[in-house]
Symmetry: C2
Subunit: 420 residues, 2 copies
């Protein structure tokens, strides 16, 4: 990791009179030895590398996600946008303003400024290419339709899908994660501004996580630990990174499936603890699988009670999600909870609640080398019989091919556009 | 400040097998001496006191705000709700689960659980009473209409108001602020659950701030420092706390005005830096008033340029907001930025943008001893001529009387209901 501050904002902005306060603050802070947490907050994640950051990177506190439509029919403009985004992303993740140069007072700001004085906050920016980039309404706009990977499938309609068009799809996406929500939003805002005229926002999503906090495995808003079975260490690479089985331009990349899952929290909160635990197949407080003692105990899917019923119920979430019950299918989950206000809901089953309910739940993101043998394989059955479905509704959906990382001087997706 | 962890969740939940992992984590952390920041994150704010916490308390990272309607005609049920909320709030702000007791597996959880293992995160819960508590549609439901303070006025319609009914008003409110958004939401969620049958959510708002970060005075999403002129130290009390001029039950309390202000960020970002600075009356990078050098320099409202124009323009935000230009009127601002997605906007003036735009801006909160001589006095003129209005739209509005703090054994608002 490298260290940087956004004091560069002042220098490059050419506002000499402005350097007093923030400079003084930074000097004062330099007198105090940084703690582990200060370092974690101040540190920046490397932008360049074999893989894009933000996939196997340990989760940050905050997410701001944006999907874009492309408004141009010109291949060169798409390439120009990816070049400009790459340059800006390298700067932003290092804690620098989006665009270099000397700020003139009679020009719009080179950077909107709300991250000035903030640390890089471990910002990562992860770019993805959606089906609409390769062809839109049958049009091969950019002469790349033949390069669409087979793994970038159109997601099937799953049981229970209640998708809202305005929260689905997109030609491009940017996933911004940082330990400060203002830093994450700031980054997407700069990229969207740079895209003006070429691309436009299609949908956005903000989220939060406790992965960095004192909680251990973070808890989702249903109060259960989420991510216990995630692949880690040496098990991660074979699950996540595309290889020689697909096009060379995606080798070292990954496929992202994003699902906006609204959760009926008010209803869930009125369910008995035993019912909640049967639904998940885990104990709520410890995260241990039913029949186990500790969070990371291997679930015993064969165990039965004295009546012959499965200790971990047949429709429980943990049973249906486990690789061992999916022919080994595994995904890397990197999900954030979301909280987008409240709106009116009329429940049509007990307790017959008709009231304002939280528009809240999980912005689920899964990374894998092939969604056909990853998310789709696992979720097809889950969408039909997971007991959790009584409380969850999938209202948004998208799939993106996230190309591999790059070296300085390259741009994201360069091989897709420049190698025959 | 006191220190606590949520390990109590495990103890009171009676789930002995569950204590392994979180306990181990906490012990491991105890081996490392806490830094200033660790302390700030772990610390809890006192719930009891002369004033409610969350008003003069230094701002936290995250806000979750909820306004409630009351669904009961029975005074005793309102009192019962305030008693239950008070008990739960004392526990939640100390990092304990919402309700005490031994968790039975065949009962709903005493606490939804997503804050288990998290620090108290400086959670504050601040309660307010809206006009609808005192009378609704002319009905004195709870026999307290005569006790409504004169200062709890119905806010007038201001120039430019585009208020959405579903984001206004309420009989009761809870402002939850914490250094973790999951802790803030968790707290309101428990209180809403406890209110089931008596009260229901009317509207909610989440927000974020960089007040705790390395930025100094936090910057709003327009990129400018926000709060430089806030009263501090000895100047705060005379501005904020109600005294003998009103009803005794509000002595030591404060009046909150909340305004949801959507900001046209995309449009703002295309304005020249000099124009932005003229609009605010301050330099963007330093926060110094125009004509000054440093953020806390006193603005010189008399200064003119060689053409005789005010250096700090007549319609600039800083001029119109300054106490010296408002017969001394002063408010304590405690505002959070918000980010609620994006939706379609058709701009009707240059640059004629028609696109998805951020539903984003400022959840403005002002505390004062009397809104008639505070927010209303200041904003009445500002709403007509502030240059900033070109980019801001007030879409939500509410006013609440926040009663004084309490001692253990009392409940919030007790004097309103029990003293003749």
């Amino acid at each position: 990791m490298m260290h940087a501050s956004r004091r560069g904002f002042l220098g490059t902005a050419g506002l000499g009179a402005a350097t007093g306060l923030i400079g003084a603050t930074s000097n004062a802070q330099a007198q105090v030895a940084p703690s582990r947490r200060d370092i974690a907050i101040a540190a920046s994640e490397p932008f360049y590398g074999i893989h894009q950051a933000g996939i196997s990177t340990p989760m940050q506190d905050a997410l701001y996600f944006a999907a874009f439509d492309l408004n141009t029919a010109t291949r060169a403009e798409v390439v120009g946008l990816l070049q400009a985004w790459t340059k800006a992303a390298a700067r932003l993740t290092a804690g620098l303003p989006a665009e270099p140069g000397v700020q003139e007072t009679d020009s719009p700001p080179l950077d909107s400024g709300e991250a000035a004085g903030l640390n890089p906050s471990r910002l990562t920016l992860t770019f993805g290419f959606g089906p609409d980039l390769f062809s839109l309404d049958g049009h091969d706009r950019y002469d790349i339709a033949a390069k669409r990977p087979a793994a970038l499938v159109d997601l099937p309609r799953f049981a229970g899908d209640e998708l809202v068009a305005g929260q689905c799809g997109g030609a491009l996406c940017v996933q911004a994660c940082a330990n400060d929500p203002q830093v994450a939003f700031h980054a997407v805002r700069q990229l969207a501004r740079i895209s003006y005229g070429t691309a436009s926002l299609r949908w956005v999503q903000s989220g939060f996580s406790t992965a960095n906090k004192t909680q251990g495995t973070p808890r989702n808003l249903m109060g259960f630990k989420d991510g216990t079975m995630n692949p880690a260490g040496e098990a991660l690479a074979p699950v996540v990174w595309a290889g020689a089985e697909g096009p060379a331009w995606m080798s070292g990349g990954s496929y992202m499936v994003a699902r906006r899952i609204r959760i009926a929290l008010e209803h869930w909160d009125r369910m008995k603890l035993a019912f909640q635990e049967q639904t998940f197949g885990r104990h709520k407080a410890s995260g241990a699988p039913l029949g186990g003692k500790a969070e990371f105990d291997a679930p015993d899917f064969q165990a039965t009670d004295t009546d012959g019923n499965s200790v971990i119920p047949d429709t429980s979430h943990v049973r249906l999600a486990a690789p061992v019950n999916n022919d080994g299918a595994t995904i890397l989950r990197r999900s954030y909870s979301y909280n987008d206000g409240a709106n009116f809901v009329a429940e049509r089953w007990p307790p017959w609640r008709q009231a304002m309910e939280y528009d809240s739940g999980l912005f689920f993101q899964a990374y894998q080398k092939d969604p056909r043998t990853g998310f789709i394989k696992i979720f097809d059955r889950m969408s039909k019989i997971d007991a959790l479905n009584q409380f969850t509704t999938h209202v948004g959906s998208a799939i993106f091919a996230c190309p591999p990382g790059i070296r300085p001087g390259q741009y994201i997706g360069q091989e897709l556009f420049e190698v025959a």
